[in-house]
């Protein structure tokens, strides 16, 4: 296998890696300059793997163990401002603890990449996956995307830096990955060659914004009220430009590495003639797509959309695909207590995205898999059944169904 891969010049080798180790390999291939670490499960194994890679002499990088997530994120923010490619990561409440640093990284328009090993927010202290930690970034001017396999996780470290560091974007990037189900599951992962990565990912160049003695500038000084709205407008512009940059990055990734990604923002499964679709983030795609295959065998016209990018949100693209459905079921592995209809976070963006359509599909929302609760194939089949019935729902019926709850 190894020799065949090497002959392509694109793929160096194939290794059995879990999601955390795959991310670490991505960081190594991206030749990251500064890594700040602070442990919290399930992210911890990423920093473990990176420290080993550095100790083995495979990567020349500053590796700083911080005293908290807050310091960890501040370190990479500052590193990013002097032109260093920087990496950090966290999970759950640790991620939330560093939030002040995360917010300012976006407003400073710096481009470190963060791995979020999704974890339930305490209390109670639980380790399972829940998406609220990463989704808390959604309004902060970040790039936010989910990997749904170890291979995708590795590749999205490269794709992520490419987009985040693009001069038209200059936004920080959060790569989310389901705790346990992806972070600690071992798969065969193909590693690209350093040469191929070099072709895809140019060096990080801040240009005249680089903080350096030869380029004396101040980044983020105090300003008065008369600056903020204009700054926000710039952020908005960057977020809008990011849409095109994301598309271009996948196009070039496909050109170099073979066309694996059919669409940059989400991946449709059996959508062509479908009438009912489920959409969700992360590892739930595995039981969901299996459910689609089983229902298709019975002649049901169902599909699954694996939503990869949440920020920037693929509004027009989703309208084009989901607008054709009779009903759309949104799987939320998160919660938005007190929100309209007490749904999840994702459903509100999907529903508002589809609302302007004349023949908009009926929407169903599912809260499931919280805190790492299993989402089985049967659960997904049930969600398809409920979604199929959504167009017949009477006014006043609940939008939201909790799946897998002890009730």
């Amino acid at each position: 296998m190894a020799t065949v891969l090497e002959e392509t010049g694109i793929w160096a080798k194939e290794l059995l890696l879990n999601g955390c180790q795959a991310v670490a390999q991505g960081v190594k291939l991206a030749d990251v300059d500064v890594i700040a670490a602070y442990p919290i499960r399930p992210y911890t194994e990423v920093m473990d793997a990176l420290s080993r890679i550095i100790a083995d002499g495979e990567l020349d990088s500053e590796y700083i163990v911080a005293d908290s997530e807050h310091s960890q994120f501040e370190i990479v923010k500052h590193a990013s401002s002097v032109g260093a490619r920087a990496f950090a990561g966290s999970s759950g409440t640790g991620w939330m603890y560093g939030f002040e640093a995360l917010v300012v990284t976006a407003t400073d328009r710096l481009s470190p990449l963060f791995l979020v090993g999704n974890r339930a927010l305490d209390d109670p202290g639980a380790f399972g996956v829940e998406h609220n930690d990463a989704l808390a970034l959604r309004d902060m001017g970040w790039l936010l995307c989910w990997a749904s396999s170890a291979q995708e996780a590795l590749e999205h470290v490269l794709i992520g830096y490419r987009i985040a560091e693009d001069n038209r974007v200059r936004m920080p990037m959060a790569l989310a990955m389901d705790g346990a189900f992806l972070t600690h599951s071992q798969h065969m992962v193909k590693l690209p060659t350093q040469e191929a990565v070099r072709r895809f990912l140019p060096p990080y160049d801040l240009g005249d914004r680089r903080l350096h003695p030869d380029n004396p500038v101040s980044i983020a000084p105090q300003v008065n009220e008369d600056w903020v709205m204009e700054l926000r407008r710039q952020n908005w512009e960057a977020a809008r430009r990011a849409k095109g940059v994301v598309a271009q990055a996948y196009k070039e990734y496909n050109a170099i590495f073979g066309s694996r990604y059919t669409s940059p923002y989400f991946e449709e499964f059996m959508i062509e003639d479908a009438e009912v679709a489920l959409i969700g983030l992360g590892a739930v795609c595995m039981p969901a797509r299996t459910a689609v295959r089983r229902l298709r065998e019975k002649g049901k016209k169902v599909a699954y959309v694996n939503l990869r990018w949440f920020r920037p949100f693929p509004t027009e693209e989703l309208r084009a695909v989901l607008g054709r459905m009779k009903a759309v079921g949104v799987i939320d592995r998160d919660f938005a207590h007190g929100s309209p209809d007490s749904g999840g976070i994702v459903v509100h963006d999907i529903r508002s995205c589809l609302y302007p359509l004349k023949n908009r599909p009926a929407i169903a929302n599912f809260i499931c898999g919280l805190g790492g609760r299993d989402i089985s194939i049967d659960d997904c089949i049930r969600m398809f059944e409920v979604t199929t019935e959504a167009p017949n729902r009477a006014a006043g019926d609940e939008l939201v169904t909790w799946v897998g709850l002890r009730e």
């Binding site: 059995l16 499960r41 380790f127 346990a180 189900f181 600690h184 595995m286 002890r406």
Partner: protein, 389 residues
């Protein structure tokens, strides 16, 4: 069809070992043209000393990768196992990996005609005396040897990994074949002794498989908790009733968290010679888990349900042979040793000396580097029978 392997290991000491075995199964099955993947159960931290944890490997000859993962990968635990490997035989007494789960039988997941594969020097009959009964027949196989215990970053290269692969091939060739195990180890390491270790374990294990009949084993003594429905518990997060203030003298006179006792973390337990005790309080004071209960005669009873076998009491006890760590499998229950001592001191001393045996464990200063076994000191003949000096 899916074959499921569960590898029960002791947190941190065997974390790398468990993971390597899972990875190896995936690699070997892939070389055999099957689809496979491996993951770990994510409950309490596998970084904590002695915590019972699990790694899984799933193998299918006919399913696609995604289908296999959808069936198995999206779950925290498995419903049933074709092979449950036990890398440390003291776990046959049951495992309590996390709060609110109770102490679960080690063969809980073993399916009908499946196999419980234990690294042990004990006989099948001795092991079955600790294991819960099942309504259907299953197989029990042993690989002769001690638990291989290493540390956080290291894997003790003592061929346990290779022997385990050979033994799995012996009990269920539908998962991996011994020929594939040998070829993989040779290709990977170019070291013949690794393949030979697997083959020897394979041959030996084939001779050490016994059928356990339905109903053979013990009535499970531990209650398995039923988790409440969402409207059945108090609002405001998970609330555990407080430990009551003060305590009573005597066995279990202190109240402790009933939901997570952690006793299955231990591989050894302290045996106390109450007649040698000088009442210095050090065991009670230094025990990190507060498992010593003061008694009305100034002694300290041990609550073995909460003892994690950390060895601290034996280390701080100033009297030779008063507290000695003994293999957990020598004990059938967690009853109070102090009560036994009160009932019949002479019998108790005889019992304690018999349990202590001649071997003593010497722990190194670096956690996780394993312990040394040496010949124990001899207790003076008079003391050994309980007579006052």
């Amino acid at each position: 069809m899916i074959k499921r392997v569960e590898v029960n290991y002791r947190g941190i000491f065997q974390k790398n070992l468990g993971k390597y075995i899972g990875s190896d199964i995936v690699m070997i099955a892939s070389r055999m043209g099957k689809v496979a993947f491996s993951n770990g159960r994510y409950s309490d931290s596998p970084e904590r000393n002695g915590i019972p944890c699990k790694y899984f490997a799933f193998v299918s000859p006919d399913l696609g990768e995604e289908e296999l993962e959808a069936e198995c990968g999206a779950k925290l635990d498995i419903d049933e196992a074709d092979v449950s490997v036990v890398l440390d035989d003291t776990m046959v007494k049951g495992v309590e990996p996390w709060g609110w789960h109770g102490v679960r039988p080690i063969n809980e997941k073993v399916r009908e005609k499946g196999c419980l594969l234990v690294f042990s020097r004990h006989s099948h009959d001795e092991l079955v005396e600790h294991i819960g009964k099942k309504p259907f027949p299953y197989r029990l196989a042993t690989v002769e040897g001690d638990a291989s215990l290493a540390g956080l970053w290291v894997n003790k290269d003592d061929l346990t990994r290779e022997r385990c692969l050979g033994a799995i091939a012996a009990v269920d060739p539908g998962i991996i074949s011994i020929e594939a195990v040998e070829a993989y180890l040779l290709d990977k390491t170019k070291e013949g002794h690794r393949a030979r270790a697997a083959r020897e374990a394979y041959d030996a294990t084939l001779r050490r498989i016994k059928l356990v009949a339905p109903g053979q084993g013990i009535d499970w003594p531990h209650k398995i908790p039923v988790l409440p429905k969402w409207h059945e518990f108090q609002e405001g997060g998970v609330v555990v009733p407080a430990v009551k203030r003060g305590f009573e003298l005597g066995p279990r006179g202190q109240t402790r968290n009933d939901m997570f006792k952690r006793g299955t973390t231990k591989t050894h337990r302290p045996v106390v010679r109450f007649d040698l005790c000088i009442k210095c309080t050090l065991c009670w004071l230094d025990c990190p888990d507060e498992c010593f209960d003061p008694t009305d005669d100034g002694l300290y009873d041990v609550d073995y349900e909460v003892c994690v076998g950390c060895h601290k009491c034996a280390a701080v006890c100033p009297i030779p042979e008063c507290i000695v760590m003994v293999d957990e499998l020598k004990f059938k229950d967690d009853s109070s040793p102090w009560e036994a001592h009160k009932r019949n001191p002479v019998e108790y001393i005889k019992w304690a000396e018999e349990k202590k045996g001649k071997e003593r464990l010497n722990y190194p200063y670096v956690t996780g580097t394993g312990y040394e076994v040496t010949e124990g000191q001899t207790v003076p003949p008079k003391l050994a029978t309980g007579a006052k000096p």
